[in-house]
């Protein structure tokens, strides 16, 4: 519940779409970001939002209200990007987006007991330390649902493709590879190659060696009038053409 309405205190999970059009309860449009670890402090000085701290505590935020298997089912549905074979440990997170209304009721106040916060930190630390498969998978799932929630929240702004790609990157880390920062690399490279193929009009293989995409050259409004040694182009823009003519 990292976001809280400053008017009525209603909280929203990270990336919630609901708050984008104002607080549904009071119509307020000011929210504060509250990493769940600091949720007890109602005056809410949202200091740090490092993922390592935010993610697991968000995890515990939904834990006080355990609806084990059923909520997992319902939770799994909206976040369709979550891998279907999600382990039970993924429960608390997948619930976070689906159980939003009920959760926010209970979380509305600064309700999270201190003890819970502590345990959550413990969990995250042990998960980080141990190479235990289960725990690492749990972590991956934490990240995954967070991303999915973020993604759904931004879906109005960001293109669908981009979102799909983002979610694919995460689900690719399904294997216990905790350092998922590595995983998007191949996809980005792949994408770059694909883009090069589709959009680059002149590829400089090496000085004096060029590959030309004729369709792209033809389609462009502007045209390349000079190739530089360092791989830059000088292009003549259509406006300049207009002036000349």
């Amino acid at each position: 519940m990292p976001h809280q309405c400053t008017e009525c205190g209603r909280t929203f999970p990270d990336g919630s779409k609901e708050m984008l059009s104002g607080c549904p309860d009071c119509g307020g449009n000011k929210f504060q970001f509250r990493p769940a670890g600091q949720s007890t402090d109602s005056s809410g000085t949202p200091s740090k939002r490092t993922p390592s701290e935010g993610t697991p505590s968000k995890d515990t935020a939904s834990e006080p209200e355990p609806e084990p298997p059923s909520s997992q089912q319902s939770g799994g549905k909206p976040t369709t990007r979550t891998s279907p074979e999600s382990t039970p440990t993924g429960r608390s997170d997948s619930a976070s987006s689906a159980d939003l209304p009920s959760r926010t009721e209970s979380d509305a106040g600064p309700a999270t007991p201190d003890g819970d916060v502590e345990t959550s930190r413990d969990t995250s630390e042990t998960a980080d330390a141990a190479v235990d498969r289960e725990k690492t998978t749990q972590r991956v799932h934490d990240e995954e649902t967070e991303d999915a929630a973020q993604a759904s929240a931004r879906s109005d702004v960001v293109s669908r493709d981009e979102l799909d790609r983002a979610s694919r990157d995460v689900s690719a880390t399904e294997e216990p590879t905790p350092d998922h920062s590595e995983s998007p690399r191949p996809d980005v490279d792949e994408l770059r190659n694909e883009l090069n193929e589709q959009f680059e009009s002149i590829r400089i293989v090496s000085p004096g060696q060029y590959e030309l995409n004729l369709m792209e050259l033809y389609d462009r409004q502007e045209y390349i009038i000079s190739l530089q040694e360092d791989g830059r182009y000088v292009i003549e823009m259509p406006d300049a053409w207009g002036v000349e003519d």
């Binding site: 060029y210 030309l212 004729l214 033809y218 045209y223 190739l227």
Partner: protein, 213 residues
């Protein structure tokens, strides 16, 4: 208003009478490198204006900038056709300086030539889009016409609805196979010629007048 319209109509009728067409059409000479585009452009220009368009060479990419010869007046069957000839660099998908090294060229020169040729192709493609009213597509009849470049360019020309004349050049060479060119683009008329020897140029001019007049 009506008076103005009438006036404009009568003026345009007069100018139509004076010149065969209101403005000369820009005819781009396109094709792959070494098909004989510049040889043809020079042949046309010399035949009708006395000047040449540019130097010819057996080294590919001799023409690296589009060259224009304006107001070339071609007379056919008592009818005058005025065209601007645009000789374009050979269009290709790959330019490699190494192919110039075989022609006794230093590496630096070869690299520069390669870069200029690439710029020339970009320019030629741009002209095809912006600045050309018709196309004379020149092919070397001793080589296989089924290439990506030919297919793509002919496709673009067709999609632009530009009038296009396909010339099967180099008929003076023993390996020349005009039928192969005709088979490759059956939707277009193929005219055989040797721009170098001036063979069949009469038919070429007749077709130019017919297509671009």
């Amino acid at each position: 208003m009506g008076l103005l319209t009438n006036l404009r109509d009568s003026i345009s009728r007069v100018t139509d009478g004076l010149f065969t067409d209101s403005e000369p059409k820009r005819i781009g000479i396109y094709g792959p490198p070494n098909a004989g585009k510049t040889t043809l452009a020079n042949r046309i220009a010399r035949d009708w204006t006395g000047d040449a368009v540019g130097p010819e060479s057996h080294i590919p990419h001799e023409t690296r900038r589009a060259r224009r010869k304006e107001n070339v007046e071609i007379e056919r069957n008592g009818r005058k056709v005025t065209i601007d000839i645009v000789d374009t660099p050979g269009v290709t998908t790959k330019v490699d300086y190494k192919e110039f090294l075989d022609h006794d060229m230093e590496k630096d020169d070869a690299v520069r030539r390669s870069r200029e040729a690439t710029e020339g192709v970009a320019e030629a493609m741009h002209w095809l889009r912006e600045d050309v009213d018709g196309v004379i597509y020149v092919l070397d009849s001793t080589t296989d016409p089924f290439t990506q470049v030919n297919t793509m360019l002919i496709g673009i020309i067709e999609s632009q609805d530009l009038p296009a004349l396909i010339l099967a050049n180099k008929t003076d060479l023993p390996d020349s196979d005009v039928q192969q060119i005709a088979n490759a683009f059956p939707q277009h008329e193929t005219i055989p010629l040797s721009a170098l020897e001036g063979e069949n140029m009469d038919e070429v001019y007749t077709k130019i007048a017919e297509y671009f007049g």
